[in-house]
Amino acid sequence: MDDDVPLGNPAESLALIERERANLERDITPDPRWMLWPWGIAWLVGFALFFLRYGPDGRVFVDLPDWLPLLVLMTLILAAGVTTGVMGARAGRQVSGPTSRQGLLYGVTWSAAITAFAVLFARISDVLPEPESGLLWAGGMVAVTGVLHMAGGALWNDRDLYFLGAWTLLADVVGILIGPGWHSLIVCVAGGGGMIVAGLIGWLRLR
């Protein structure tokens, strides 16, 4: 077909316009599955191990080595951080201008927030009993995640991301109020599950 020839039918033209817009939009947006599923999996697996080893009221559902849940959670979170960093940077290289600068600053904000809270928690968790110390770390970091997803939703005008952040924060606060042990289970199911679902919805919308 000669592509210099105009289309005769307005409906065909409008369909063509929408198709090309959707194509480029998908090509320059980091795949929501790669951005959210690694975190969802880290939370699902990591916090499940925490719940099984450090259950409510000091119960041990499965007698895992006491270092295992933290090691698994940290390893999976590190892997998730690297994955989203690489995928985000790759998408950022395709586009130049205010949006990629926003993306870079948003990414740096995550590292800054997590580092600041890690310093604070490391400083005071020693004086807390172990269950409360665990709750401080997990509850604090999940709250940071929820808040930054909400901020991301506001920044990118993305309702789904904003809702995911609010949902994560709600689950976190409910878990904190119920107490150590239950917090792990709630964050595992609602938080980790929420990110899996959000990644799926984001991907379906782009397709």
Partner: protein, 107 residues
Amino acid sequence: MTEIDPRVTELDPVIHAQARLRVVSALSVLRDDDSVTFPRLQESLRMTAGNLSVHLRKLEDAGYVEVTKTHHGRTPATLVRLTRRGRLAFEDYTAALRALLDPLEEQ
């Protein structure tokens, strides 16, 4: 139905060619002042580099797009963006298409 509506031929001739309409449509996704790399645009549009260059030159001549050569680190990069004028032309064009479509549907 693919017969040509006579009113369609009065639309903006620069973006009325199918290939250039596709280019401008894709670029309209970018936010103001954002640009996309040439290879990404080419891949997304599934055009050859030569073909895309020809159409970009025509769009550039009309002042609808801006093509900038720059460097990402050491690798040279060509960036493409829609100018304000190009965005306005695209918006006028889609509005005209919709206006053509509405009375047609009422018949």
